[in-house]
């Protein structure tokens, strides 16, 4: 806005260069790679490096374009992939709801504190987010295993008579996801609640609203943008999650991120993996676009 007011030719060149640098980086290393994934998903697997056939062939005078749709047909009809997509969506949906359930009271509690203790509490919520996720998931392995801390504790207080099998089950995946993604849910809700207009609640209370109904009729509806942002920040990455299902889940719970990993490193079928990735992306683009358009509508 400052610079736009003086459109001299000199600043225009500087401006163009300024825009071009981040633009060029992201075009080459972010956008172009996606086009490549789409292209290679239509290729055929072969032995060698790179392990896929080129899409075009030049035989002297004719340019042949070979597009192989078999990978997509396979992904969309094969039971294991369909199941993996559905499992991922289900696990993402349930764990997003569960994370919200734990995060909201926490965010609400922090927002109701005095400003000085607020910043300390927010700091405490952020610290685990900054430390290694792989390591924290590993720690859950030693808590949840059959001879782990949780079972030892439950046995000691006599709540169970033999160890529960939690590690390598879907329950362990839920615990890991809720734990790992909790800060992503707490922070947007907190920032929404802490900037909320308190006088609205006071007004509701003055007009005879009880504390609880003031919450449900005023505070909660007003905090929905924060809730929505938090849900998007949890749901979308969880669908493609690899580390948590790989370390905490069992072999019978296949999520799509892990399926892509196995296709790449174990089966070495890159075109197939690319096709699985494209379908995953398509599944996620719908909520992303929805969320984006909603956000931009709110801004205007």
């Amino acid at each position: 806005m400052l610079m736009a007011a003086t459109p001299s030719t000199k600043t225009n060149w500087g401006k163009r260069l300024l825009i071009a640098i981040p633009y060029a980086w992201l075009l080459v290393l972010f956008l172009a790679p996606f086009a490549l994934v789409a292209g290679i998903s239509l290729s055929t697997v072969r032995l060698g490096m790179p392990p896929f056939e080129p899409l075009t062939a030049w035989d002297g005078s004719i340019l042949n374009l070979r597009l192989n749709f078999e990978n997509f047909l396979y992904v969309l009809t094969d039971d294991t992939y369909l199941l993996a997509y559905l499992t991922s969506l289900k696990i993402a949906a349930i764990s997003t709801a569960a994370t919200l359930f734990i995060a909201y009271p926490l965010a609400y509690g922090i927002a109701s504190c005095s400003p000085s203790s607020r910043s300390l509490l927010v700091f405490l919520v952020i610290v685990p987010f900054w430390s290694s996720m792989l390591i924290r998931v590993y720690s859950w392995m030693s808590i949840l295993r059959n001879d782990g801390l949780l079972n030892a504790l439950l046995l000691k207080i006599g709540l169970i008579s033999e160890p529960l099998r939690i590690l390598n089950t879907e329950t362990a995946i839920y615990i890991g996801i809720i734990y790992t993604y909790l800060p992503f849910m707490v922070l947007p809700i907190y920032s929404n609640l802490s900037s909320a207009d308190r006088t609205l609640i006071e007004a509701a209370r003055d007009l005879g609203c009880s504390r609880i109904s003031a919450f449900w009729r005023v505070t909660f509806p007003l905090s929905l943008p924060g809730v929505l942002a938090g849900c998007a920040l949890v749901f979308i990455p969880v669908v493609g999650e690899f580390v948590i299902p790989d370390l905490l889940g069992g072999a019978d719970t296949q999520m799509i991120g892990r399926a892509i990993w196995l296709e790449f490193f174990n089966n070495r079928d890159w075109p197939m993996a690319a096709a699985v990735t494209i379908v995953l992306l398509a599944l996620l683009v719908v909520p992303i676009v929805y969320f984006q358009s909603r956000q931009s509508r709110e801004k205007t």
Binding site: L26, P128, S142
Partner: protein
């Protein structure tokens, strides 16, 4: 508002206990004398000695720190440019696309980015190794750095810069000498965020590396996969200690510069 109610206190307590439980367990067991991860065998620092004498872990740590330092620096520089473009140059063709490219990696599953980067490097025929990991890390941390810098730049009072320009300072110089010093806390935290994200990444590194270059998370991951070793607790505690120190330092830097700004005003 009034004092937090018992319900608020309880939910804070429960939430924080949940967040810190695995971290506390990890730190305690890193000093465990027993070889069995779940049996307490007395206080010992033997696992720290094992870690420091493990050349593979040290090598992985070197790769990780080098990659994280370079990519965090590149991401912070690019992120500053991107933040300036997005905040100060409101109107240009392709702004929406740039905004989309800056936001998408934040919500994109890591595995999607990892696959696309791998295919990119293979197509371009670039040998995979520390360089390709660094390029990939710069790209995915760039968006996080930009978000941090953007939010600071939006808050910045433009009148100081306007004053400098009224006094005959060219716009670029006005930005560098007036706005940039005020952004130092954001630059520090953008760098630290990029650094830790890079240090922690497993999926993108695994896809973009070649034979011979393994980062620390890759080494930790393969150790976890092929049998749990108590060493991991010690490595984790060391990393945790570094991260917490960095965070506290960043907090102090930003608090001090805030105080300086408010004292100057």
């Amino acid at each position: 508002m009034t004092k937090p109610s018992w319900f608020n206190r309880l939910s804070i307590l429960f939430g924080l206990a949940f967040l810190y439980l695995p971290i506390v367990v990890l730190v305690i067991y890193s000093f465990n004398g027993s070889k069995l991860v779940t049996v307490w065998g007395g206080f010992s620092t033997q696992w720290y000695a094992t870690v420091l004498n493990n050349p593979s872990i040290i090598e992985g740590a070197k790769v990780s720190f080098l990659v994280a330092a370079i990519s965090a620096t590149a991401a912070t520089i690019l992120g500053t440019l991107a933040a300036v473009v997005m905040v100060r140059l409101r109107r240009f063709r392709g702004r929406a696309l740039l905004n989309g490219m800056l936001l998408a990696p934040m919500v994109m599953p890591e595995v999607v980015m990892a696959v696309s980067m791998l295919l990119m490097f293979v197509t371009l025929g670039i040998d995979r190794g520390p360089l390709t990991i660094t390029l990939a890390h710069t790209t995915f941390t760039l968006c996080f750095a930009t978000v941090v810098l953007q939010s600071r730049l939006v808050e910045l009072d433009p009148s100081l810069e306007e004053a400098a320009r009224d006094l005959g300072c060219p716009p670029a110089k006005a930005f560098v000498s007036v706005a940039l010093p005020n952004m130092i806390p954001a630059i520090v935290s953008a760098w630290l965020l990029s650094f830790t994200l890079s240090l922690d990444d497993l999926v993108i590194s695994s896809f973009t590396t070649g034979p011979g270059a393994s980062t620390l998370p890759m080494k930790i991951y393969s150790q976890i996969k092929f049998g749990v070793t108590p060493e991991i607790n010690a490595i984790s505690t060391i990393i945790l200690g570094i991260v917490v120190l960095g965070l506290v330092a960043a907090q102090l830097v930003s608090r001090r510069s805030e105080q300086r700004v408010s004292a100057a005003a």
